[in-house]
């Protein structure tokens, strides 16, 4: 593992994209950054601009309006960028999979690196997913 990979793994900046979410996954993502779980131990922090992001967190069902925005966001991010699909809606579509406005799960739109299922996933599950992401690369 070279210096580049090591530095990249030690400082992942997260950008949060919530689709048509019911806000449960959003709350759990924010939970990971609170004092109890504290993902900043590993150098992860939430950034406001997609230009600074290394990880794109996508949750919620992606409907037809979100689809174009998600693709644009993915192209705006500086590469390399990792994509994490969080929650049942992000991974498969969940209860919205048969819906009229549903535009496909996240991996039909942009390439996904890690799936974290659950409705919503616990913060422990999100941390386990992030660890898998770090070990994968």
């Amino acid at each position: 593992m070279g210096l580049k990979d090591y530095c990249f793994k030690k400082s992942l900046w997260l950008f949060h994209f919530g689709g048509a979410s019911c806000n449960n996954c959003d709350i759990e993502i924010l939970d990971c950054l609170t004092p109890r779980f504290d993902l900043e131990r590993f150098g992860m922090q939430l950034v406001g601009s997609i230009r600074h992001a290394d990880v794109l967190l996508v949750n919620g069902s992606i409907n037809r309006r979100d689809k174009a925005r998600l693709i644009e966001l993915y192209h705006q991010a500086p590469k390399p960028v990792l994509v994490v699909a969080i929650g049942a809606c992000g991974c498969t579509g969940g209860i919205f999979a048969e819906g009229n406005t549903f535009a496909g799960p996240v991996d039909k739109i942009i390439p996904v690196d890690v799936y974290i299922p659950g409705c919503p996933p616990k913060p422990e599950a999100i941390i386990a997913g992030i660890v898998k992401l770090l070990n994968k690369k």
Binding site: K4, C7, R51, D54, P78
Partner: protein, 310 residues
């Protein structure tokens, strides 16, 4: 010649400032984490961030906007920070005695990074970046006058000398300036000026990440953003060092004095971090009122006290 080059590039110069500034920025994040009952990132986290941005990430250029200005602004930010740092640290560590009027030059050089942030933001062609740039401009208008008045008061206290070395010598003879009432007032004002110059929380409206998504830096990515980060790390070391020199009695690096120097810098960083973590972000008009009325009033009181010899 070689010795001068080493001064500028290695020891009190560029590399030393960058490494110390990175460590101090890491300490700032660690202290923030402790204050929020978290464990926090490792102390060398800023180096990981910097190397990641510099080596790994792609740099995206704005489609509509001036690319040359956009990419030149971070370089000028580093240049301004490094030049002001060298002019502060060389007299402080007793390598050269400086020249008459160098405190005025330092005042202008310290303003360069903020101006380059404005230039880069306006060259990015992003509406949120323009909002950030306009806020940064208003912030500069509000704090620069206060900063200049503080320097004027320090110059008066040191017996009308505009040379860093003479100011340090005056403090060696009559004790650090902070030991008097006017010195304490000046120190309070200077801490708030440092806070605004560094863009830390009560005055971080130019890069409010929850409000206008990093404002002035929204379009920066990759190595260009790494350079902006480096300029910010250097400023977080240079400004406390400057406060040390003009009010806390200089920075000596011989014998036991090196411990006092480190403690002075760490104390100022601790103060800045405490202010940052216990205050909300103020609006730009509140910041202008704060500096124009209250801080200027404090400095003027300090100047009057100096005239009476207190």
């Amino acid at each position: 010649m070689i010795k001068d080059l080493l001064y500028y590039l290695i020891f009190p110069g560029f590399i030393f400032m960058a490494v110390t500034g990175g460590l101090l920025a890491g300490l700032d994040r660690k202290l923030t984490a402790w204050l929020q009952f978290r464990k926090g990132p490792p102390l060398i986290q800023p180096f990981y961030d910097f190397l990641k941005l510099l080596l790994v990430k792609e740099t995206i250029l704005p489609a509509r906007g001036s690319i040359v200005t956009f990419l030149a602004a971070p370089v000028f930010a580093i240049t301004g920070a490094a030049l002001s740092g060298i002019m502060i640290l060389l007299p402080a560590f007793n390598y050269t005695s400086g020249f008459s009027g160098d405190i005025i030059v330092i005042f202008y050089l310290l303003a360069i990074p903020s101006f380059t942030y404005i230039l880069g933001a306006l060259a990015a062609g992003n509406p949120l970046a323009s909002v950030g740039a306009s806020r940064e401009m208003k912030l500069i208008i509000s704090y620069e006058l206060t900063f200049l008045l503080t320097l004027a008061a320090v110059i008066m206290k040191a017996g009308m000398t505009i040379r860093i070395n003479d100011i340090i010598q005056a403090q060696v003879i009559q004790g650090p300036f902070i030991g008097s009432i006017s010195g304490i007032l000046l120190f309070i004002v200077l801490i708030f000026c440092i806070q605004a110059k560094l863009g830390l929380v009560p005055f971080d409206m130019a890069e409010a990440e929850t409000e206008i998504n990093h404002g002035a830096f929204i379009e920066y990515s990759g190595s260009a953003y790494a350079m902006i980060k480096l300029a910010k790390y250097m400023m977080i070391f240079i400004l406390p060092a400057f406060a040390c020199i003009i009010l806390l009695g200089g920075m000596r690096v011989d014998g036991i004095h090196i411990l006092w120097t480190i403690l002075k810098i760490l104390g100022i960083i601790l103060l800045i971090t405490l202010i940052r973590n216990t205050n909300p972000r103020v609006r730009i008009d509140q910041a202008m009122r704060f500096f124009f009325i209250w801080m200027n009033l404090l400095v003027i009181i300090a100047i009057v006290l100096i005239l009476f010899g207190l």
